[in-house]
Symmetry: C2
Subunit: 242 residues, 2 copies
């Protein structure tokens, strides 16, 4: 059955981690809210489905995945579900859990990246929290980016099956998510992430390798890949980089 | 084999969600860092084990769980692992995934609660980011607490097996984690959470019911339960409540 991904139609956001897994696996899916409204897409459909009273297990927020009668929310939970089904979670139960642990750490860094431009309230404009954003972004650049990327570098260095993948010797959704995290950091913090990546060559190489994979590259070059923009999580505000 | 929980010895923090699951299930475990240093406890042991070079799959931060030769980090991943083993993840694969989705949403709210007192940088003192904390706490009180608790109220109301549990008709780690979230909010934001809980009676009842369960109550009254304090996630700073 064709999988349905429900997410904001104009940003990469958290949905992008799911899109990348689906694309890298060549899965049949519909990005529902990106369909024309006449064909059941659009944000109003997204909001209606999110709060569908017939769903006994509603999600808190997009993204959510529909697979037949299953509705699954939370990016990491969606990937936990899809991972083994798409062949993107290693080769054992231990691998699957480790892949998930890596994903949760990516998610922590993504949430912190978001809060660099919205440290006070998601509902306020960036311009109204710019001073706090400058302070938070400085800490993120100086402390957090090196710490997160340094940890992934360590994980790659300790992988007994070689440092080309985070889990074993094959692609998992953790690799795809680290690719996306690095892509986002390079967009939002080109100077700071450039410095950090110079210290984390295995992470930089993984990012390059994942982007060169046939299905991933085809996706990135297709109109299905939404460009980074200043409504998403990773925003290129020059005053937040240094 | 006795499970080993590794977490900061002086706070509830994120480790508390694991402690509650272990305690509610009557599991045999050691809270390693709370052992005396002479018996292998203490923070220096915690930091050493976190970065043990012999561990090919190191965790980013505490808590982590050791079960024989398995080492698992990230609170939600630990609970994903423990849930079925402790009988705290429902009765089906779908229940287990839904329990995890609920946990991830609790975790999102916990991270936001933390950032009310540290909106700029974890490495700075609260006093040095107090102004931003006041603004962020206001948004958390007015927007986020009602939204999160309102969502859990909806989930309880839609549970086809009755509104006493989040998943099916038995205790899961999601119930325990919602209990802990409510306990923390009541400590840190007694006024704001009191208002929100008046609008979410099922959540308030779940919190009361979980706290009355025999093993949970015994734990809460034991010296193993660390009191809330102003080094943890939920901090009673009166100026952040209203």
């Amino acid at each position: 059955m064709t999988l349905q991904l429900h997410y904001w139609p104009t940003i990469q956001g958290r949905g992008e981690f799911v899109r990348l897994a689906l694309e890298a696996a060549g899965a049949a899916y519909v990005d529902v809210a990106r369909e024309p409204p006449a064909r059941g897409g659009g944000e109003s459909r997204l909001m209606r489905d999110l709060d569908d009273p017939a769903n006994a297990r509603p999600s808190f927020a997009p993204p959510f995945l529909v697979d037949g009668d299953r509705v699954i929310g939370q990016t990491a939970a969606i990937l936990l579900y899809l991972g083994p089904r798409l062949g993107l979670a290693g080769t054992s139960e231990a691998d699957a859990l480790w892949t998930h642990q890596l994903q949760l750490t990516v998610a922590d860094c993504v949430a912190e990246a978001h809060d660099t431009h919205h440290p006070i309230a998601t509902g306020l404009y960036y311009e109204d929290q710019r001073e706090a954003a400058m302070a938070r972004a400085r800490d993120f650049r100086e402390q957090r980016i090196p710490k997160f990327l340094g940890w992934f570098e360590k994980v790659l260095g300790r992988n007994p099956q070689g440092g080309l993948h985070l889990v074993g010797n094959g692609l998992t959704y953790a690799d795809l998510s680290l690719f996306q995290l690095v892509a986002g950091l390079r967009h939002a913090f080109p100077k700071a992430s450039g410095r950090a990546l110079a210290q984390t060559p295995r992470v930089a190489k993984l990012h390059a390798n994942v982007g060169r994979r046939q299905r991933v590259r085809a996706y990135l070059q297709s109109p299905r890949r939404i460009a980074f923009n200043e409504q998403g999580i990773f925003r290129a505000y020059p005053e937040l980089d240094a």
